[in-house]
């Protein structure tokens, strides 16, 4: 790249209009110039630490210890130790409801909190806490709180309601996904909601629309792309559930999620092709769900006032 730059200094394109501008100028017209070098470290980094390992894993998964080219994938779905379909189904059964609950519960709250009021900053700060605590600590807390001798069952006991089993099963993991995912969804939707120009709603108000009409005809269409993005992000968090499925779930049965299965193949069975195959299937399934949501999103209105989505 440096050689043509020197060339360009000698060359003056204005001097001779009939002559074509130099290569550097033509490239610069397309946005290619020396500032692009700044991108090189970042690009190199992504290629070396993300693309290359990923391709390496893909290659590894196609060369299994036994069973031909797609042997590892076949083993993932059919092997009685892996039971891939089951684990994928279990993961979707956890992550889709969790993401839906988080998004749907966050909409009315964000709608009410979109204005400024006293204590808004405090409330948002409290909601950030579970995001930073992470799933491992949430799991420890859930085990204590919902455990057989925990405060929750003790509270139910006051009303003579029998102890409820809420940890070491599906519900424990769902709770942990909601506790760490809901604040995330709420803060994201709140930021989308406050990005909607309030004068649109005010205009609808002067035309006599009540709050239901305003919510359905103005807020929702503008918010929908943001909702789709939020759903995707909370879904990603929930789909990759791993520590809490082990800690508050029942990793050998009802919460045998695909991340756990992939980790088991990697860290316990030391079958790297199988582990890579499981990891790739996991990524593909996640991308399919996200792809469907984003495709729906592309059919939605994306105007200037809802443009943050």
């Amino acid at each position: 790249m440096s050689a043509p730059v020197v060339d360009a200094k000698r060359h003056t394109p204005q001097g001779d209009p009939s002559q074509k501008p130099s290569l550097v100028h033509r490239l610069a017209e397309h946005g290619i110039d020396r500032t692009l070098w700044l991108l090189v470290p970042g690009l190199l980094f992504v290629i070396v630490l993300f693309v290359y390992p990923f391709l390496y894993g893909l290659n590894l998964s196609l060369h299994p210890n036994k069973g031909g080219m797609f042997g590892a994938y076949k083993a993932f779905f059919t092997d009685p130790d892996m039971r891939g379909w089951d684990s994928l189904w279990i993961t979707l059964k956890l992550s889709l409801p969790a993401a839906l609950i988080n998004v749907i519960a966050a909409i009315p709250l964000a709608y009410m909190m979109r204005g400024n009021f006293r204590g808004k900053r405090l409330l948002t700060t409290i909601l950030v806490v579970p995001i930073t605590l992470g799933t491992v600590l949430t799991a420890e807390g859930l085990l204590n709180f919902f455990g057989p001798r925990g405060w929750f069952n003790r509270f139910l006991g006051l009303f003579d309601l029998g102890p409820v089993q809420l940890v070491q099963n599906y519900w424990g993991v769902l709770w942990s996904l909601i506790i760490s995912g809901f604040p995330f969804a709420f803060l994201l939707i709140l930021s989308y909601m406050s990005g909607i120009d309030p004068s649109l709603e005010a205009a609808a108000k002067t035309l006599g629309a009540d709050w239901k009409q305003r919510f359905r005809r103005i807020i929702m269409p503008l918010l929908a792309p943001g909702l789709a993005t939020t759903f995707c992000l909370t879904f990603v968090l929930a789909f990759s559930v791993f520590p809490s499925a082990i800690l508050v779930g029942d990793p050998s049965g009802s919460t045998r999620v695909v991340a756990y299965v992939a980790y088991n193949a990697w860290g316990q069975m030391f079958d790297y092709p199988l582990a890579s195959a499981s990891a790739i299937v996991m990524g593909v399934v996640e991308m399919i769900v996200i792809g469907v949501v984003l495709m729906l999103r592309s059919t939605m209105y994306k105007g200037s006032t809802g443009g943050k989505g």
Binding site: P53, W151, F152, V236, L247
Partner: protein
């Protein structure tokens, strides 16, 4: 909004709206209250148990003791663990800012063939589940003898951090008026001077915010550290997980004491973070200029 909705007539409609909406409002605030109570219970039960002497079948422990912290500190070798966590976090933050900021400058300012594709490349590590790329990456790092160990942990944690810096910094740089740069160029500033004298001072708030966010994420990142660490390079969150799942008889209280130590360090980070960033920014970078 307040400027537009003023005077007696709109206030009357507002009152009517509140009456109509009250069951819905009641439900949502009630739901919020229940969520916060559960959250409080979850956190408080860990804190109370970490101070519990004896706690069997009662609302609160029958005796209290602070000795679990000392036990946990020596039992889980927390000096080493905290030190590792600090090293990993600081190195990851420094490297990801160094690599990410120049890249985000190019992506914010230039439209070149393939810029969309490059942006997608930076988006993918954030959208993929960490286990999906973590397993091939850990296999590869093992192969090159970089993992399990501190180097592996740092390299693996960089994978989502650099794209995160790029994605948070790109909108930030887009907000900076490009004519400032053009003016500097016209006055004869070279690219390096432009960066050091013009852009760096303007970018420092954004860089601080991105750095703090990466710090919070790295300290809390479980999966990638778990896949690439060994017993001498565990970070706090992985040490907590192994203590919870590990074999052998361990007092629940000492695990909880460690959880409280982890919680306190996260809260310190959070307080620092909130000095630099808006709470909504912790989940996404948004333009708050309209508020």
């Amino acid at each position: 909004m307040s400027a537009l909705v003023e005077g007696p007539a709109p206030r009357a409609t507002a009152r009517r709206r509140r009456l109509v909406a009250s069951p819905g409002k009641f439900l949502t605030w009630g739901g919020m209250a229940i969520f916060l109570i559960l959250l409080f219970g979850v956190i408080a039960s860990v804190v109370v148990n970490s101070f519990a002497g004896k706690w069997f079948d009662s609302w609160l422990p029958t005796s209290y003791s602070g000795s679990w912290y000392g036990t946990a500190w020596s039992q889980y070798d927390l000096t080493q663990v905290v030190l590792t966590t600090l090293i990993v976090a600081v190195v990851v933050v420094a490297l990801s800012v160094l690599i990410g900021v120049p890249a985000s400058y190019v992506l914010a300012r230039k439209k070149f063939p393939g810029s969309k594709f490059v942006m997608l490349l930076f988006l993918l590590p954030i959208m993929m589940p960490p286990i999906t790329y973590g397993i091939p990456l850990a296999t590869l790092l093992n192969y090159y003898h970089l993992a399990p160990g501190l180097t592996g942990v740092i390299l693996a944690n960089l994978v989502p951090s650099v794209p995160f810096v790029v994605l948070t910094m790109t909108p930030f740089i887009e907000q900076i008026n490009p004519s400032i740069e053009s003016a500097a160029r016209m006055c004869g500033a070279s690219t390096s001077k432009l960066f050091l004298r013009i852009l760096a001072p303007l970018l420092i708030p954004g860089m601080l915010a991105a750095a703090v966010l990466v710090l919070v994420r790295t300290v809390g990142m479980f999966e990638l550290t778990f896949l690439t660490s060994d017993s001498s390079s565990n970070t706090l969150v992985v040490a907590l997980f192994t203590a919870m799942t590990g074999a052998g008889i361990r007092a629940q209280q000492s695990v909880d004491a460690m959880a409280v130590i982890y919680m306190l360090s996260m809260l310190v980070l959070l307080v620092i973070a909130l000095r630099f960033v808006n709470p909504t920014q912790l989940v996404a970078r948004v333009d708050d200029s309209k508020d």
